[in-house]
Point group: C2
Chain length 336, copies 2
């Protein structure tokens, strides 16, 4: 019943280093050359296994139908593969960023938790999120006039446009301006009080996203937000990274003088099957994240042809309800 | 960063078949004999990998420190191992049933969702749940006078008592009576209207638990419950098994004339990182599961020395809030 035959190593082609654009090296799973790879085939032959010191002693594996792209950008290893049951999968430095099957949960929650919590958001900044999924969700809000995105890695943008059209569709909105560069530097240069909302769609705090979890970065966000502006940042899992969450909450409590909250959602292909978000507001008009003032469920912002798959107003409020073990720790840090 | 060396196959000893009690065969990871095993080492050598046709194309793996027990009961393969980061793990037919690190989420939610939804529960029946964790949680309710449990597999009970004392502690409550036998037959023999609550803590609907997902079983539960009595059953994941959930909801809607609801919780070591529960009540006094009448958070039922780790009243209500894709399907079945 639970037996599975072990398949042999997948043949893969390494992208040529002399090519200018990583995407042009997309290999369409050429089957002429077998190379070693840190993430594929060293653990379960023919399967992708996500193993990291960030979640020691456990691994989630997806069966690989075909490697669609492998490249090394200036910042990280980028890979796309066709999985057998989760659709196409985007992997950065060996860690799953999104799958077609469950990306809706992450993208919709990290975006609508902040944007539904304030009335008439107009200017929104996305840091990271190069795949474009957050842009797609921001674009549902008709009040929004300006969407800036600062992504450090052009290869992520290009790969998403090529392999994940339903995600990168966000770039097609005319309100979007893409800035390829360092989010930390970008934010420092933002005039004070520019944005209604900042969304930080980062990878884990090892690799290129490390600074996005540190105090100076949160200070830059607070400065870039208008009074009563809101931020939503990827904030790891209560099952795996409570120590990281504690630090984030402590930092945010010092910096954001409005409200500081932790919310979470289910995402099957993320470690522990869930991920959290820090939702904070700056001093100014009160933001009560748990009782959103800007519902999106049935308004005009939501295209009839592309309805929300995951987010709704009930789930918005529910996302702030935490298991007791997490609530105890987070509340103590949030109130200190 | 994400690289992991592959370890060699774990040596394991098969329990001696001539021993009367599976538990006495516990091997303490004797390292003298290497055997093949369907679940260990065929996928990631030295790791346990959970592979099943119930969740094709994906596998969750835990690093194994030591095999503590392996046995074959009349019903299933039973295994206990020490994982490197989730504590001890109980596995039935290759599928993780509980780990010390996250068992609280499942046990507390499947128990307190029903028992906190009615006033003064007195008689409670547990079907399955041989590990004793649900009993431990039922026992927190001081109003309860009688706790019956019907578990088909004595080996599960014995193994839990030996290796999971913090789970099997539930058996020590004097209100508990253990019946080793078939839950379907047990329920048929129960006089009509006996129980205030029935909790069905089953494995997946392949193997010994198959009948626990079928209509005649739900009919027996309804008959065994008093008017306005409640049932909570393990009901799979919205990410993986919506077809099974649809069938369960359809059956329950026909059988339970009170209310029919689906709730869910995060459990990292279950497939997709979550699991759901069907919460239903029989015709009689109205049961509104979403607004529990019997809060347990700070009452006397909760021993100061062993506080709830996971469940709280806020999370109870939040557990009924579903992602839009699931809400749409479940609501349509529940109302038809």
């Amino acid at each position: 019943m639970a037996e599975e035959s072990v398949v042999t190593d997948l043949p893969m082609k390494r992208p040529r280093e002399d090519e200018e654009n990583g995407v042009s090296a997309a290999t369409e799973a050429m089957e002429t050359e077998t190379i070693s790879n840190d993430y594929i085939s060293s653990v379960i032959p023919g399967w992708f296994s996500e193993i990291s010191p960030m979640w020691p002693g456990e691994a989630h594996s997806l069966k690989v139908e075909k490697i669609l792209f492998q490249g090394k950008s200036d910042y990280q290893n980028v890979m796309v593969f066709q999985s057998s049951t989760y659709g196409k999968v985007l992997v950065l430095d060996g860690v799953i960023q999104l799958t077609e099957r469950d990306e809706c949960a992450y993208q919709e929650m990290i975006t609508h938790l902040p944007l539904c919590s304030i009335a008439n958001p107009k200017k929104v900044l996305v840091i990271g999120g190069g795949d474009g999924g957050v842009l797609r969700e921001v674009a549902r809000h008709t009040s929004v006039e300006q969407i800036d995105i600062c992504e450090i890695d052009k290869m992520v943008v290009d790969v998403s446009k090529k392999f994940f059209p339903y995600v990168s569709v966000g770039y097609e909105d005319p309100r979007v301006t893409l800035h390829i560069g360092d989010g930390v530097a970008f934010l420092k240069a933002v005039p004070e009080g520019t944005y209604d909302a900042v969304i930080v769609d980062s990878s884990d705090p090892i690799g290129p996203a490390q600074e996005l979890f540190e105090k100076p970065f949160f200070e830059s966000i607070a400065k870039a937000l208008r009074p009563g502006g809101v931020v939503s940042t990827q904030a790891e899992s209560i099952w795996l990274h409570m120590n990281i969450i504690e630090d984030i909450v402590t930092n945010c409590r010092q910096i954001f003088k409005g409200s500081v909250n932790y919310a979470w959602t289910t995402v099957p292909t993320y470690p522990s099957g869930m991920i959290g978000f820090m939702l904070c507001s700056t001093e100014g008009p009160t933001v009560d994240f748990k009782h959103p003032v800007n519902p999106i469920d049935s308004n005009d912002c939501q295209s009839k042809s592309k309805p929300l798959k995951f987010y709704n107003s009930e789930l918005h409020t529910a996302a702030f309800c935490l298991p007791s073990f997490a609530k105890k720790v987070i509340d103590s840090k949030a109130q200190s």
